[in-house]
Symmetry: C2
Subunit: 358 residues, 2 copies
Amino acid sequence: MKKIAKESGSVYCNQGAWEAFRDLLKVLNPSKIFVLVDQNTEKHCLGVFQHKSNITAFETLSIPSGEAHKTIDTCQNLWQDLSAKGADRQSILINIGGGVVTDLGGFVASTYQRGIPFVNIPTSLLAMVDASIGGKNGVDLDHLKNQIGIIRNPKAVIIDTQFLETLPSEEIRSGRAEMIKHGFISYEGYLRKSLSFKIEDKDITENLIWESILIKDTIISEDPHEKGRRKTLNYGHTLGHGIESYFLEHKEKKPLLHGEAIAIGMILETILSFQTQGFPEDVMRNYCQEIANHYPTPHLSEKDQEEIIKLLIFDKKNSHGKVRFVLLNAIGMPKIDCILPNEEIINAFKYYETYFAD
Amino acid sequence: MKKIAKESGSVYCNQGAWEAFRDLLKVLNPSKIFVLVDQNTEKHCLGVFQHKSNITAFETLSIPSGEAHKTIDTCQNLWQDLSAKGADRQSILINIGGGVVTDLGGFVASTYQRGIPFVNIPTSLLAMVDASIGGKNGVDLDHLKNQIGIIRNPKAVIIDTQFLETLPSEEIRSGRAEMIKHGFISYEGYLRKSLSFKIEDKDITENLIWESILIKDTIISEDPHEKGRRKTLNYGHTLGHGIESYFLEHKEKKPLLHGEAIAIGMILETILSFQTQGFPEDVMRNYCQEIANHYPTPHLSEKDQEEIIKLLIFDKKNSHGKVRFVLLNAIGMPKIDCILPNEEIINAFKYYETYFAD
């Protein structure tokens, strides 16, 4: 049985996970069970949940799908719904969905009546290996990603890889990006496997998902409030978030999923690692090329680059007006709080444009 | 020096408090200082703050005064303001005001970029003895009091009783209600003093404020998350909140301040304590009469009573559809989680109407 048992939110994967979920509900004995889904998971996952959990008495709360709805307005509707349907402090919220549902649902639960318990049931690869783990909850503010939120753990995370079977391939790709990130900051063996596994190989996929969770869990257990080591999980995310926000703002551009933006961010930050931290060039070229084979690498004009750099200042990792990067001395050797002159960032964009952009 | 020093938020009162505040800022070394005020405290308190703190480099954020603005919309404006003015995770928010400002400002800070530090500088008697202490933050949802929020402590609470000098007398009365409550749940000597002190007697007032803080701090240190003993601080608040919400909804009624609603709640719950917990009738009559001498005791029709009872079910202390009261076996002997039939509540309203209502 794949299981991390701890006070601050246990994680269960596949065999035995649903039994653990039912046992948890018995112990918590909630006054009411609320289930949060979005339009997609309502259609594709709610039936599986009912069948596997064997729970029938619950109220369903539904939100529209997509990052554009990860807002305080959506939270306000849910708080009102919970109030109208008689949710009290002994009620529980079960979040069934991808990162938007688990991030937003966790925030709604953590702030309803100063906090009710919640459980995450991630249904996307990205939510399984990353978003549902570690207690970061929240919503976007205008185009600022996760600008509003708090850190609080779910009572449990229940992972059932059967949910991946209905997931579109670009969603698999998006989730894979966070596994690749876990490879960059931990060890090359995992980095290689994260780039090459096929989602159809169910046992291998399950094992790699679990390894990603263990890598992340080790880091956040040591530093839950992101004072030091947890920052390494932001590899690829400084420029990645900037790119994601920029594409969200510019509706005329082909939209990027979170992991797709992070993939471009990882290419750029691996180039930066080569330029400024002595990361070996051949290793950088090799893995950046592999990422570029998997992911869209849109052309970014000088104007695009400038606008993206402007957005970096709003990233939560930054303070005192300085942009802070996680960079790599080598694979598995991340260095936090790297401050770079803008010219270095522009040089990295140039390198990207020369070698990796479409 | 009046001081409670602890990791989870220190409290300082009068002598030495501003020095402690300046020392804290030196240690935290914030990237930017933001000061939250409402229209009233901007006018009456911001100058005193500048003079006494000797801090000049800060950005002021201002919100409209009053409970009606204790909403998520006000939070959203402030989150946007903070973002636009470059607040980062190393910034600090200083909340200068009554309970609305400290509750709402604490929530905004606790959720901005997953939490930035904040300091409460309460300027009303109610905020000094109650709202600013104990880490409860949040806002109302429609007419449900503090329905959205979390528990998180300020870095420090700085109390300067000079702020009371510009406070209208009904605001003093409102704050006194929470001191009376601290008397009911701790010991009769403090209950008597809370009812009789004059705000003009500065030394006595300072000592009584400090005693209230110590009573509350002892309780919440033992039970920060309100699993048991902290619930005793809700004495008078079950019916008090119902009455407050009801008067907020009915604009044709003369509005009640929080403490004024709690005073009526305490009369009713002391009657209930007599009716159901063996609280001595003569003691009940004596103190309820004293409260009625200090506070408005509006006539509540049978229809009013019915509507107020309906609102109780939404109180955060309640669950599984049951209303839970804190009642008293005697002064200083509170009993939590008392469940009563509606007839008892109606009988208490009748007693109130017969002996104490205007």
